[in-house]
């Protein structure tokens, strides 16, 4: 529902897009040229967070290991570049490359394969076990890359030059920004299609009631696995872009705190909304940058902000803004999120009992 409303406001969307297109020019004109790289990072993390949101928000599956796919995407770019610059093929027959038209699809493909393997195993469990097993797989990959001395081990891989795109000067920061912007726009358009498709509806239905979906005759496991794979591919794409932007890939990209940060972005923006994760990524990165410039103890402030958001705002910054503005549509969303919290949708016959219990708690 939220995603629809987001697109029902084409004027707002167009305005945001125009600002994003004009951003590098504005940044240079006002003298804040660092703004462009900040915006590039926001776009990239926005893709990663939105991918995570597909399983987390729409699918209701709390994956604590999505940094693994982010890191895999980065390492695909890094490893292909290393073999390109050393001019020795990978495994003896795959030539390295520095062409973005090859590295990005390769990163998406490999992270999709990894997500298929990890998802196929993890989705056999649920609840706490699912959180922990996704974390475990991410840790496994983290330690694997730490121990691969050929690819830099602990220190990571330096990519001397950003991948090439035919006809573009990729050494220019602005060009990299626009490439990321185009990819982000395409990605969100695709995500919008997915979320509003039959597949997206089934996914949300599975979150609300697996039993009901099973009764209709839909295979929960297959739908969830598909969502997990798409989500892994999105994170891989983001990782590949990040490796290109930073010209660096390291095990830190798949550290478990990175998975945590992606989740923080999702919840900051609003779980289960289309553009929420992008807003969340923006809030997170801007917060991190400004807090870090004020004090070296920025993590303390970030921790408190996170606690506040989780404990007192239901639905992240987006919902908070809407609530402050007293929008009637928001009131509807609120009652729904409350209903979801008490799982009324799952057991309609016990609505009364559940409501009474929740009253008794307070």
């Amino acid at each position: 529902m939220n995603s629809e409303t987001s697109f029902k406001r084409p004027a707002l969307l167009a305005a945001v897009l125009i600002v994003l297109i004009a951003l590098p020019t504005i940044a240079d004109a006002t003298g804040y040229s660092a703004l462009t790289s900040l915006a590039t990072r926001i776009l990239i993390y926005g893709i990663a967070a939105a991918s995570l949101n597909l399983v987390l928000g729409y699918g209701g599956l709390v994956s604590f290991g999505h940094a693994a796919f982010f890191g895999i995407g980065g390492y695909v770019v890094g490893i292909l570049y290393q073999h390109y610059s050393l001019e020795e093929p990978l495994f003896g027959f795959i030539p390295g490359t520095n062409q973005m038209l090859i590295t990005l699809p390769a990163a998406i493909l490999i992270s999709g394969l990894a997500a298929a393997a990890i998802g196929a195993l993890s989705l056999r469990t649920g609840g706490v076990q699912f959180i922990m097993i996704t974390l475990a797989f991410a840790q496994m990959l983290f330690f694997l890359f730490v121990s691969l001395k050929t690819y830099g081990g602990d220190d990571g891989l330096i990519i001397r030059r950003t991948n090439e795109l035919p006809g573009l000067n990729m050494r220019d920061k602005h060009t990299v920004y626009y490439v990321c912007l185009v990819i982000t726009a395409a990605f969100f358009a695709l995500l919008w299609r997915i979320v509003n498709s039959r597949f997206g509806n089934v996914l949300v239905g599975l979150r609300q009631s697996e039993k009901r979906m099973a009764a209709i005759g839909l295979p929960a496991y297959r739908y969830r696995l598909m969502a997990f794979i798409i989500s892994g591919m999105g994170c891989g794409l983001a990782g590949a872009l990040m490796a290109n932007f930073l010209r660096f890939a390291s095990p830190d990209m798949m550290h478990w705190t990175k998975s945590g940060e992606l989740m923080v972005m999702v919840i900051l923006g609003g779980v289960g909304t289309l553009f929420g994760p992008l807003i969340g990524a923006a809030v997170f990165i801007v917060l991190e940058t400004t807090l870090a410039s004020w004090t070296e103890n920025w993590q303390l402030a970030l921790g408190f902000i996170l606690l506040f958001v989780v404990l007192y705002t239901h639905g992240g910054v987006q919902a908070l803004v809407l609530r402050l503005a007293h929008r009637p549509e928001n009131r509807n969303r609120f009652s729904e999120s409350t209903m979801r919290r008490f799982k009324v949708l799952e057991r309609p016959l016990r609505v009364r009992k559940d409501a009474r219990r929740s009253n008794g708690k307070r």
Partner: protein, 304 residues
């Protein structure tokens, strides 16, 4: 043979440390349904408070009550201010709120003690080794840890199975709603359980001090391993946590001790060491993945 026995003892010692952490975590999981990432922070608080007092007063023994008190206090405060609001919320909120707590505690400890790791001198009685078997001498301190861990395990067994509080804990982990309906003050029970878990984590943190460095991030390292223990043992099962801790401790230590050597026979020295270290770090996660695939609820939970 003596090397093998020594590694086995090292594994058991690591295992009981894990158990001290896992016991609290599994109870909190099982009874309150809360994923508490901040459990590692409590371990760190215990280590820092104990080490600080021990260094200031010059007495290792005074560090113990300091560590226990600081950890239990931190636990009760966390429960009262944050975790209490998370009961009944979904796992995502719990993970994120306690992730926020980790950031806060790590930064607060950095501000108080700086980034340099602290070291604590162990008391002279526990310094040195004893000869257990001819040719096998083992540090007294590590033996003490094993002993303390086993005593705590036995104490917990008595507490859970022989006392009224233990009965409530068992009842709470089976059917929370029923316990509340019968008029038990569940809030107090929750705070007690959380405090007990924190106390054990603090003890583990302080005992780890002389072996490992007391530093920022020490909590997260052991936390993730502890999660593996809890999940393998089965969420909510103390018995499961105990056996899973020992298994993981031994497997992890064994891999680290023997794998690089085995790899060195097929590869070049330094690369074998790096790969061996990497694979042995992966070992426990691999074990967890296998266990979950065979028994999704953990080893010691009966399948319903």
């Amino acid at each position: 043979m003596t090397l093998f026995l020594e590694q086995l003892l090292n594994g058991v010692q690591f295992g009981v440390m894990l158990f001290l952490m896992a016991a609290g975590l599994t109870l909190i999981f099982g009874i309150m349904g809360v994923i508490n990432l901040a459990h590692g922070s409590i371990y760190m608080i215990g280590a820092y408070a104990g080490t600080f007092v021990a260094t200031e007063t010059g007495s290792f023994w005074l560090g113990i009550p300091a560590a226990l008190a600081a950890a239990a206090l931190a636990g009760v405060v966390i429960e009262f201010l944050v975790v209490r609001r998370l009961y009944g919320r979904d796992h995502l909120d719990q993970v994120l709120a306690t992730f926020g707590l980790i950031l806060i505690f790590n930064q607060a400890v950095t501000m108080l003690f700086g980034r340099q790791p602290l070291f604590v001198q162990m008391p002279s009685i526990l310094d040195g080794s004893v000869e257990l078997l001819p040719g096998l001498s083992y540090p007294i301190y590590r033996l003490t840890i094993i002993l303390v861990g086993l005593l705590v395990a036995f104490g917990l067994y008595l507490l859970i199975n022989r006392t009224r509080i233990g009965m409530l804990v068992r009842a709470g982990s089976t059917n929370r709603e029923m316990v509340r309906a019968l008029g038990v003050d569940v809030r107090l029970l929750y705070t007690l359980v959380f405090g007990l878990g924190a106390l054990l984590a603090g003890l583990a943190g302080f005992m780890a001090g002389p072996i490992l460095a007391v530093q920022i991030g020490m909590g997260e390292q052991i936390l993730i391993t502890t999660f593996v223990v809890v999940v393998i043992g089965g969420v909510g099962s103390i018995r499961g946590a105990f056996f899973a801790s020992l298994i993981l401790g031994i497997v992890d230590t064994g891999l680290r001790a023997y794998l690089p050597g085995l790899l060195r026979q097929v590869m070049v020295g330094p690369e074998a060491d790096a790969l061996g270290a990497g694979i042995s770090s992966m070992g426990i996660y691999l074990l967890m993945a296998i266990v979950l695939l065979i028994r999704p609820k953990g080893l010691f939970i009966r399948n319903s």
